[in-house]
Amino acid sequence: MNIQFKKGVLELCVLSMLERKVCYGYELVNEISKSISISEGTIYPLLRRLKSEEFVTTYLQESQEGPPRKYHKLTALGRKKEGELKKEWFTFAKDVNNFLKGSGKNE
């Protein structure tokens, strides 16, 4: 997929994933990289930014398999942001689709 298309959408994907469930970092990276090819390491700086902007909080929780894991949870502010971004994205995608279909007919 084109780099320009993916630009900026990653934040929405992370927020949307966290809207569905509370995740630890690996889980999040793994799920997103299944659908979108990304450099996995850069999700963590993004998560840190979302945390410093108070869209996300983190807490440690014991796991059965070993040491505690860091879980990421959406805040009320993050939930609101997710809704806004998603709406923006759908409007944008619809407009582009309509445009592409329209320009196809004119040719």
Binding site: K7, E40, R48
Partner: protein, 194 residues
Amino acid sequence: MNKKEFLGRLSELIKDIPEEEKKDILFDYEEHFRIGLEKGRKEEEIAASLGDPKVIAKQSRASCILKEAEKTTSVNNLMRAIFAAVGLGFFNLVIVLGPAMGLIGILVALFASAFAITISGVAILFGTILGPLFVFDIYIPLTSIVSIPLGIGLTALGLLSIIGALYLTKFFYKLSIGYLKMNLQIITNRRNTR
């Protein structure tokens, strides 16, 4: 690259940020490796899919240093933030360093003129009053009726300009932080998709 090499390189590249922040960053990647290994992946494979530690370090450093500059106002912190942002790529060399140089130029010019006005005011004032007492002749082509108020006026104007320039510096500082924050968001999103 294995786990130890990856974490070692990353830790070396972010050594100048506060210890706590650094530990926090390394913790995330250590966890990532640990869980990846539990899922049966190889260290080298995990390191490769994480990407270049340099890219990760640049992003982490830039946002961390910017946070510091926002918390503690100092020219040094702002400079570090600007250079960390410039380090994120050629694109930033133009859109960060350009405006930064412009703003610094404006401030230097303002301070220089404010000081010049103040000094000229003081010089006229004292020249008029003390001039007759000196052995050397200080030539002021004005009568003292004009030059004393002029001296006081210029001194006051100069001092006000200095205060004004200080406020403007503060305003520019906040403006720069805001700009760098926005810039970091765009850049991080660009980088993430590479």
